[in-house]
């Protein structure tokens, strides 16, 4: 039973309660109060998640900050929370991103500000729940419930085609989740009546069962990641979502899918995972190479970054399927780094969009002349996205490529193409938008970023540089858990 309330519960419920409080404060007449409340809620959410980092025992692969309480005893469902080195960093990343999103939406969102802020806070709490849940049903509840705020965010504050994008996003991800639900119920019976995820890690399964479960989990997580060819909802959702929505989508929700691979697919069905490595690797490489080329020809900046996200996530899934420490840790580092970089890039595009109301690359040119501070920060993030050494983008990609070389040289060679494509599409876009002559009078009228925008972007810049120059603290936290996972996956749990 719980003794008092643990930090994990706080990271989940503080933002949710703050969001509900904002909702009861009423409509836009209280906008300034609602903004302050949202900022307070998100900062408080970040503060309560910090002890997870400081109190974390990196040497141990055990689940830490355990909280167990009875929830639905009739079905042996528990309110069981806990984190290991794999999930803990994402709670911090999520809480951190929420603060940025609240700040980014400060003035940009003009209508129904309270609902906007509340949706983000509630979503933040739910996502923390996804990373902390160790009970299958609890996980599923958070996993599904987080769709609802994002659906509303895209649909209410998004671009012209927002309704289509929102419904597509929702149904696509729901399809995957429902398959997973069936898989979970099946596991419940196979494991002798338990929804405990760690119990599922231990239960022996036949190859047929493993393959079917693999497919079900694959649907759920591949859609979220998203992997080629189930990625098509992402560009639509990104293009139509408001800036904050894109940030959360890219920085956090995609990570939920990849996290699912490590928490469910690999440990629960290791033999099927080994068996189907070729499939995931192939899909990942297609994402890296083909989607990289697709990104190159985009004329819409948001779409370009969306495709770049898919390519980068392909790297992550590739790393996971290498079954060596470098690959998995590289994938995890890449996830966190991509969380910072993609958030920053979407915020940068948001900054320009707020001024020009266009995301077309062709409408810009020579922005450096009018927005020098902005151009400098944007430069850093563009470099990080192309994987420049010294930025966080480099670390993860380098680790994954090193890990891939150990397994198969050609996989590594194909994956390394991303360094070229990534640099090509990001820097080419940067060049067309920022450099050159001032393209038109709209660009000439641009004002440089204000203090709030500068604060948001520089926080991310610090994160990107810190992780790029000294990634050890991050990998340290993961090390024990990743090794534990690999050891677990190496053992067959096949039964006949």
């Amino acid at each position: 039973m719980i003794e008092g309330i643990g930090y994990l519960s706080l990271t989940i419920w503080v933002p949710i309660v703050a969001g509900l409080l904002i909702l009861v404060t009423g409509d836009d007449r209280n906008a300034s109060g609602q903004r302050t409340l949202a900022l307070l809620g998100s900062v408080l959410g970040l503060l309560v998640s910090l002890p997870l980092w400081s109190g974390f025992d990196s040497a141990s692969a055990e689940i830490q900050f355990n909280e167990i309480a009875e929830w639905i005893p009739a079905f042996n469902i528990w309110y069981h929370l806990g984190v290991d080195g794999i999930s803990m960093p994402f709670i911090l990343l999520n809480s951190f991103t929420t603060v940025l999103v609240v700040l980014a939406g400060w003035q940009v969102i003009k209508t129904r500000i309270g609902q906007y802020m509340a949706a983000f806070l509630i979503q933040s709490g739910l996502i923390n729940g996804v990373f902390a849940a160790l009970d299958g049903v609890l996980f599923y509840v958070f996993f599904e419930a987080m769709l609802i705020p994002l659906y509303l965010i895209i649909g209410m504050w998004g671009g012209p085609n927002r309704v289509y994008a929102a419904i597509k996003f929702f149904l696509y991800t729901l399809l995957g989740s429902l398959m997973m639900l069936v898989a979970m119920i099946y596991l419940f019976f196979v494991s002798g009546g338990s929804f405990e995820i760690l119990e599922w890690h231990r239960v022996g399964l036949t190859m047929t069962a493993q393959l079917l479960l693999f497919v079900a989990f694959f649907f759920a997580f591949a859609v979220k990641v998203p992997m080629w060819p189930v990625h098509t909802w992402l560009p639509d959702a990104h293009v139509e979502a408001p800036t904050g929505g894109s940030v959360v989508l890219a920085a956090i929700t995609l990570k939920v899918g990849a996290y699912g691979f490590l928490r469910f697919t690999l440990p629960i069905v290791p033999d099927a995972a080994h068996e189907l490595t070729w499939l995931i690797v192939a899909l990942s490489l297609v994402a890296v190479v083909y989607i990289g080329l697709v990104a190159l020809v985009q004329s819409d900046m948001k779409k370009l970054i969306a495709y770049s996200s898919i390519a980068h996530m392909g790297f992550v899934t590739l790393g996971f399927m290498l079954f060596n420490p470098l690959g998995i840790e590289g994938g995890l580092v890449q996830m966190i780094s991509h969380g910072f970089v993609s958030a920053a890039l979407f915020l940068c595009i948001g900054v320009m969009y707020d001024r020009m109301h266009s995301r077309q690359i062709a409408d810009y040119g020579g922005v450096a002349n009018t927005m020098p501070k902005f151009a400098a920060l944007f430069m850093l993030f563009a470099m990080a996205n192309s994987g420049l050494p010294g930025t966080s983008g480099f670390v993860g990609e380098f680790m994954v490529i090193l890990g891939a070389v150990q397994v198969n040289f050609w996989w590594a060679a194909a994956a390394a193409l991303t360094l070229i494509f990534g640099a090509a599409y990001t820097l080419w876009m940067y060049k067309r938008v920022i450099f050159g002559k001032v393209a038109n009078e709209h660009v000439a009228d641009l004002k440089d970023i204000d203090g709030r925008e500068f604060l948001v972007l520089s926080l991310l810049a610090i994160a990107v540089l810190a992780m790029g120059l000294y990634p050890l603290p991050v990998t340290d936290v993961m090390h024990a858990s990743v090794n534990n996972l690999l050891e677990h996956v190496a053992h067959s749990k096949l039964v006949y």
Binding site: A74, R162, L171, L174, L178, V182, Y186
Partner: protein, 482 residues
């Protein structure tokens, strides 16, 4: 032979409800006040609930020579039926008053319908089962036809009556065959006889087909669902609200009494029929709902799909399955009350808010109402953290536990399709601008508004803590199966 006094005590709730129903009719005759009849109705239902809670015990008791059974499932379902009826009455007060329909005739019909349901729930005999069913059905036909100058309402009532009578005929024919086979009308005896083996397996299956078809009609499961959309759309919204809520509990009890108490030994036979009906209901309900522009009609098709899910629970044929089906029925009634309650609330004198477009931009004008409706819709779609999710979860679990993995996958597939039209309501309320700049009409009934809020919160709270209701259902089923 006069039944002993103790039998009357067991049946006290039904007797008191009968008295109250007659009283409401009398009040109408002697008093001009509409409020008196209304308050008497609510008071009578409350009194009945208290009597149900205290008169019965959780042990199985028979009364009136085996016509009447009192068990935990009956008590729970009757209590919930009364609560659902009370909610329906409160939701529809303003609507009925605006249209001059609030009076002793309507309310007493409603009470008789509730009485019919209670008799059905407590039936241990084909005779009482049929009697309760007919009392319920006849009251409902009359309620649907209340607005007799309305073409659609008359058409709906006509359709309902003709198809309902046909269904009753089928049911009776099936029952008579079963009587021929077993020589008894008592459900328990029928089960015993079938258990020992019947002379002709074919006649048994033949009887089952008729009984299950009749049941399908009453539940509104495909392919016997034709009346549902027309009746739901054509009836006055307040009547739809009632038709779509409490009778589903009675229908569940009906299925349990008939199939489980009476025909459990023939489980293998009716299981397949239910599976076919369930899949057809899921498919037709969910696919047809997508195309609707009228919210009452859309919710009618959604009812059909929910009944499919309920049948899946019953057909899995285990304690877990029956509990899951009961939980599903209870949560569905809660959601259905909320959904139709909202439609009723949004209507006011002269305005029926029954087109989907009436809900456009609701969030901009009435954020709380939109939130409640949103919760109801997402719950119907089966999304956590709302109670509808657990209803689906428990049914799926019982299905997979009984080895029906493919049926679970079919159910899941159609839930995905179903999610689309529920999301469309959310989309209309949240993403679209209001159809006109003037405020969206809602009635100003404070009681209905409070009840709506409570209803929405219940859907959320039961979604966060579903344990008490689940335990209640599991306990009721466990205590009642012989």
């Amino acid at each position: 032979m006069t039944p002993p006094l103790s039998d009357f005590i067991i049946a006290l709730p039904e007797i008191s409800l009968l008295v109250v129903a007659s009283l409401v009719l009398l009040i109408e005759a002697y008093s001009q006040s509409k409020v008196a009849a209304y308050l008497t109705t609510i008071f009578g239902l409350l009194l009945t609930s208290v009597l149900i809670a205290f008169a019965g015990s959780a042990d199985i008791q028979f009364a009136f020579g085996g016509l009447y059974i009192n068990d935990a499932m009956g008590i729970t379902l009757k209590l919930l039926t009364c609560f659902a009826a009370i909610m329906a009455v409160i939701y529809s007060r303003q609507y009925l008053a605006d249209r001059g329909m609030l009076g002793g005739d309507y309310l007493s019909l409603l009470l008789f319908a509730v009485l019919g349901m209670m008799v059905m729930i407590s039936a241990a005999h084909f005779l009482s089962l049929y009697l309760g069913l007919e009392l319920l059905s006849l009251s409902l036909y009359a309620m649907v036809a209340m607005r007799r100058d309305d073409v659609r309402a008359s058409e709906a009532a006509m359709k309902y009556f003709v198809l309902g009578a046909l269904a009753s005929g089928l049911l009776l024919y099936g029952m008579s065959l079963l009587y021929g086979l077993s020589g008894s009308l008592e459900l328990g005896r029928v089960a015993e006889t079938i258990n020992y083996g019947v002379k002709s397996e074919m006649v048994l299956v033949f009887a089952l087909v008729f009984v299950v078809a009749g049941l399908g009609f009453k539940l509104g499961a495909a392919p016997f669902h034709m009346w549902i959309p027309d009746v739901y759309q054509g009836a006055p919204t307040a009547v739809t609200l009632f038709v779509g809520s409490a009778p589903k509990l009675a229908a569940f009890a009906f299925a349990m009494r008939l199939l489980v108490d009476g025909l459990q030994p023939a489980h293998g036979d009716w299981q397949q029929m239910l599976a076919v009906m369930a899949v057809a209901s899921l498919a037709i309900g969910n696919l047809a709902a997508i195309m609707q522009t009228n919210i009452k009609r859309m919710l009618a098709y959604s009812t059909i799909s929910h009944m499919g899910f309920l049948l899946l629970g019953i057909m899995s044929g285990s304690l877990a399955g029956y509990s899951a089906a009961m939980f599903y029925a209870v949560t569905y009634v809660l959601m259905s009350l909320g959904g139709f309650g909202m439609v009723t609330y949004m209507s006011r004198a002269g305005v029926e808010a029954e087109e989907l477009d009436d809900y456009k931009g609701l969030n901009a004008k009435h954020p709380w109402l939109a939130a409640v409706m949103g919760m109801i819709m997402l719950s119907m779609a089966g999304l956590p953290p709302f109670v509808g999710f657990y209803a689906k979860l428990t049914v799926l679990q019982s299905l997979i536990g009984a080895g029906w993995l493919w049926l679970a996958l079919v159910a899941v597939f159609f839930s995905l399709i179903g999610a689309y039209y529920y999301l469309r309501i959310v989309k209309l309320m949240y993403f679209d601008a209001p159809a006109s700049s003037e405020t969206i009409p809602v009635s100003h009934a404070g009681d209905a508004r409070m009840l709506l809020s409570a209803n929405g919160m219940a859907i959320l709270l039961l979604g966060i803590l579903p344990q008490p209701l689940m335990t209640l259902c599991a306990y009721s089923i466990q205590m009642s199966l012989r």
